[in-house]
């Protein structure tokens, strides 16, 4: 479904990605793990068009989307839940969700998708009219995911959904992610520092180190790899 080849990204003279290649098949959950500064977020930012790729290509559904403007990438069905959630704090939950559906005009289908989002995250329903900035970090993460779902994506990118959230909530948020994938067949690219959790929920994994893919394979195998266990899983 998504194929990235030799993606290179730099910030000024600092090279963040040195030719990253990866594939995400339809309906799968693929994870990108690695330490801080390995280039995980840079990869997602380039996929969403937030930063320009210096070289390499991104092909989605058979069409090249490298360096398209962010709103055009969203229009093609690729949506990102960015690191740090980036919800709109001074808008209500409702308005945040409506922003998620910004490019859609089908009022009925939007209402149905809102209901779906509320069944997955009932907490949001209770707080519909509340300003999003007043919620806890975990609730904001739920909102960020729900907001992205409202765009009716075919391909969802999640950047560190566990960051700064109470462990108990992290578990429940990951369960929801798997549930969404199982029930709707949504393809997910998950970026995580919490490698244990990410390998547990995903089908396939890439390990990134200083802007390069150093290891890839089915998540079960990556999890059993002694190098990965030593470096990322603390075993």
């Amino acid at each position: 479904m998504l194929e990235v080849s030799n993606l290179e990204v730099s910030y000024g003279s600092i090279r963040a990605l040195h030719g990253v290649s990866l594939k995400v098949p339809e309906k799968s959950i693929v994870t990108l793990i690695g330490a801080n500064g390995a280039g995980k977020s840079s990869t997602l930012r380039a996929l969403s068009g937030l930063i320009k790729a210096r070289a390499g290509t991104v092909v989605y559904g058979g069409e090249e989307i490298t360096n398209l403007a962010p709103h055009k990438i969203v229009a093609r069905g690729l949506c990102q839940v960015p690191e740090g959630r980036m919800i709109f704090p001074n808008l209500t939950i409702d308005e945040n969700l409506r922003m998620g559906a910004f490019l859609r005009r089908d009022a009925k289908a939007i209402a149905a998708d809102m209901d779906y989002a509320f069944t997955i995250f009932p907490r949001l329903l209770e707080r519909r009219k509340q300003l999003a900035g007043t919620m806890s970090g975990g609730e904001q993460q739920m909102l960020a995911i729900a907001r992205a779902l409202l765009s009716k994506p075919k391909f969802l990118m999640l950047d560190e959904p566990s960051l700064g959230i109470a462990p108990l909530l992290v578990k429940s948020i990951f369960e929801k992610i798997v549930e969404i994938n199982r029930t709707t067949g949504l393809t997910i690219l998950l970026v995580e520092q919490n490698a244990n959790l990410a390998l547990e929920v995903s089908n396939y994994a890439y390990v990134l180190e200083t802007g390069k893919v150093i290891l890839e394979g089915p998540s079960v195998e990556v999890k059993a790899n002694p190098q990965v266990q030593a470096a990322y899983l603390g075993i």
Binding site: L50, H71, M86, N90, R98, F102
Partner: protein
């Protein structure tokens, strides 16, 4: 007492025009985080559009009621200035979108000077003052024996209220308004929701410039003379009004405008009591600016923004 009430009313009318201009400053600040110092000049261009449109279209609309010709001239001037505002952003500010904000600020001052001095050229507006036509027939409405408002003042006030209601509707109820608010909170996130930020920024410039144009015509109706530098002082006062209300805050800009208008008029009316010349009224806004920057830099309705580390 009645003299005081009269001054208060006069201040309210003047302040409502400052409010209109202040909204443009505050909305542009909201989406781009810089002060568009050329905004006062768009206000001037609005007044001149009114002048010329009346000269060209006036004969054609001779038989019509004045309220219709006023509406036509006002809406056309707003459309012209909206287009100019969008053009200014496109030519001057968009190429600097990802540069330090100081560059954009200095460019804004340059654009302002360019418009003012181009306007002075004899082939454009000319440097001499021109009298602004009475689009609204002069007529005093007596409220009590000693308290009166002019027809013009009433029209100014009613028009401002209507524009503020329309603006509130656009910002709070429409899709574009929602995108404006989202963009001002987090441009990256709004882009990730599929918003074309450039379109929203153009829209914001158009909207602010249209309000400035309406302000220009209303101001010139109250003080019927126009010249290319007429936008500087009202522009600065409206900018202060926006800061006073909390820059980026729309109700704050309206409130700030009213406060500046009323304070200025009261000082003008009563400065002789303490032995100051009335000319000091023009300094009041700047005293307010200094005080607000010293004691409440975030403005009356503004929230303190936390810098993200």
């Amino acid at each position: 007492m009645e003299q005081f009430a009269q001054q208060l009313l006069n201040g309210l009318f003047l302040g409502s025009i400052y409010a209109l201009i202040a909204l443009g400053y505050t909305m542009v600040y909201g989406v781009l985080r810089f002060i568009n110092f050329a905004h006062g000049d768009v206000f001037m261009l609005g007044a001149f559009s009114g002048l010329y449109l009346n000269r060209w279209l006036g004969p054609m609309m001779a038989g019509l009621h004045w309220s219709i010709s006023l509406t036509v001239i006002m809406l056309l001037s707003m459309a012209i200035c909206a287009a100019l505002g969008i053009l200014i952003e496109f030519l001057a500010y968009r190429p600097l979108r990802n540069r330090p904000r100081l560059n954009v600020l200095i460019t804004a001052i340059g654009v302002s000077l360019l418009i003012e001095y181009t306007g002075q050229h004899p082939a454009v507006f000319g440097a001499t003052q021109q009298s602004f036509p009475a689009l609204i027939p002069a007529n005093n409405i007596a409220l009590t024996s000693n308290l009166a408002v002019t027809n013009t003042q009433m029209i100014v006030f009613v028009t401002v209220i209507m524009l503020l209601v329309a603006l509130r509707y656009i910002v709070m109820k429409t899709r574009m308004g929602l995108a404006m608010r989202a963009l001002s909170l987090n441009p990256t996130a709004s882009a990730l929701m599929g918003v074309n930020n450039s379109v929203v920024i153009s829209f914001t410039f158009g909207l602010g410039s249209a309000l400035a144009a309406a302000g220009g015509i209303l101001y010139a109706s109250l003080y019927p003379s126009v010249e290319p530098f007429m936008g500087i002082i009202p522009g600065l006062k409206a900018f202060i009004a926006a800061v006073l209300g909390g820059i980026g805050n729309i109700p704050g800009a309206a409130l700030g405008g009213l406060i500046i208008g009323v304070t200025e008029t009261l000082v003008g009316g009563y400065s002789s009591v303490v032995g100051l010349p009335t000319g000091y009224k023009d300094g009041v806004a700047f005293v307010i600016l200094i005080l607000i920057l010293l004691f409440k830099p975030s403005g009356l309705l503004g929230k303190t923004e936390r810098e993200k580390v």
